[in-house]
Symmetry: C2
Subunit: 334 residues, 2 copies
């Protein structure tokens, strides 16, 4: 089982409007809702790839109820009806093409799960994002989560710690969660930003996956290779930087590689980074060599950009891209 | 009991952001939620004035559940703790200053009650509005509402038909509801816009309360007095036009008046028109002469603009404005 942690889960709402004009009233032509938060997105992609995944973190209020019912009820894969539904697949049904199982181990809190509202301007195709801060987490709720995390770790083949912290969670939270995973011998990937990333990196996670902005904020350098190397010196064993159209740059103890599709992919980049994380974890638990993990991550990321719905991935595109992602670089001298 | 009809109820969400910039990501600093839809707003003001009110229309989904729990649980008045809570007040406790009772007679539907999102720019104070269209109403749900409405009419001293129509409700809906109220001998006020207003007016409601834009759309004239007179010729017995800072213009069978506070009121106009409707209904069921109804409506409207929270009214300001609203005009020669 792969464990994903989403401390600030979200109900992701997308509005389509003809043209967004500040200070005007807009009729929303289309409303879509999906379960969100980075670790939830990672889990849905992993389940679609056939992995067993457990989702933990916090959920509460009516928005939390909607989120959990969607997690339980929606197909894990991008092809509804093509296989068993998420949360109900039996282990024996699992495989490379059959959706896996997604288990809800979220901790219920008294505050309400946040909403995020993405307003898509039909004229320009651009998106304006409004993100609620998330529920206030009490010390007792944080302690309940830590207990749940410790219970889940022994059964995990890998853990991903993803996204922002809701109010009330200590800023050093990820550092503690990284240390607990390492003590339990579970490989841990950290995907966050700002001070939680800075502190988390110092606890020596196995992998971090910053984007260009997060990497620059962490290291002060806007030169990706230099910044990636600096991030390793700060404590991360491996750094996989997602550089948008330029693909992935990985600096690891085993070597240094770049992976990118043969041509830039057009579409909506929402969730592309989360799909890359899912690809890295999927390859990690299957003990693939780094170049193969990076091919999977880059192909999933590009297939997410190409998908019609934000945060989903286009499975035919993924399959096709697997054979076309180019990896350059070399293993380190042993 | 006063009956208010809100076919397209809403969960009104307000976001505060530092500065709204299209195509950027925004951290929302403050989230507030309140039950909404024009007839719901009218009902809350009426209950705060001490009237017994019944709310009908449609509600569904998780947003409908939140709306109904807020309707049941929030104090009817703007002063929490000052009196019995909404939905629990006994008839004997009712009075001019004690909050009245608000009864939920909404019809449950399978679709979800819409959200409206108001994004307040802290820099400019301006608001950008995003309105979901509302749930699809099935023919069976519409029939269920018509049955509920016919049951409620005999117990009503007045009925207000307010706001937009959700998808699936026939565009002539208000015309039918006006005719049913008139057949039952219940005075009926219509507050809507566009084609539903045009058709509803032809069914001869007792009062309509358009704003300047709605009046111009109905009549083709941007000259308020001319447009108001034209709206009467189209079927409305009385027309009370809300003209923003210029106050109210009433053209009725009993005479023609203007009512406005002595100076323009600064603040948030959200809900001001709904408060004016509440004032008109309150005066109607108390059989006040038109000038007194208009004073009440104009004072409530201005006290709503002045309130800190959108859609609430400032009670001390209301009490003070009651003595300061100026009415000009004259009764018709009998």
């Amino acid at each position: 089982m792969i464990l994903t942690v989403t401390l600030n889960t979200a109900l992701d709402i997308t509005y389509r409007v003809r043209s967004l004009r500040p200070h005007a009233a807009h009729r929303v032509s289309e409303v879509t809702e999906r379960p969100g938060g980075k670790g939830v997105n990672v889990a849905r992609v992993l389940a679609a790839l056939g992995h067993e995944v457990t989702v933990t973190g916090f959920a509460g209020g009516h928005t939390g109820t909607v989120l959990r019912s969607m997690l339980a009820g929606t197909p894990a894969g991008p092809e509804p009806g093509a296989g068993p539904r998420a949360g109900r697949a039996l282990p024996g049904e699992q495989g490379a093409d059959a959706p896996g199982a997604l288990v809800d181990a979220l901790v219920t809190v008294s505050g309400a799960t946040r909403r995020t509202v993405a307003v898509v301007d039909e004229r320009t195709g651009d998106t304006t994002q409004l993100n609620e801060p998330g529920p206030q987490i009490s010390p007792a709720e944080w302690a309940a989560f830590l207990g749940r995390y410790q219970e889940l770790l022994p059964g995990a083949s890998a853990v991903a710690l993803c996204g922002s912290l809701p109010p009330g969670v200590p800023v050093g939270a990820y550092a503690g969660l990284v240390r607990a995973a390492r003590s339990a011998g579970v490989p841990v990937l950290l995907d966050t930003s700002g001070e939680p990333l800075r502190r988390g990196v110092a606890a020596r996670p196995d992998v971090i996956k910053p984007n260009a902005d997060e990497l620059a904020e962490l290291t002060g350098s806007h030169e990706p290779l230099r910044a990636t190397q600096d991030a390793r010196r700060r404590g991360a064993h491996a750094v996989v930087a997602s550089l948008g159209a330029e693909g992935l740059l990985a600096v690891t103890p085993e070597g240094r590689w770049r992976a990118a599709p043969p041509a830039p992919v057009r579409g909506n980049p929402t969730g592309a980074g989360d799909s890359a994380v899912a690809g890295l974890l999927s390859g990690l638990v299957e003990h693939l060599p780094w170049p193969d993990r990076l091919i999977r991550a880059a192909a999933l990321s590009a297939a997410t950009v190409r998908a019609a719905a934000a945060g989903e991935f286009d499975r035919p595109a993924y399959t096709e891209l697997l054979g076309r992602v180019r990896v350059t670089g070399a293993a380190s001298a042993a």
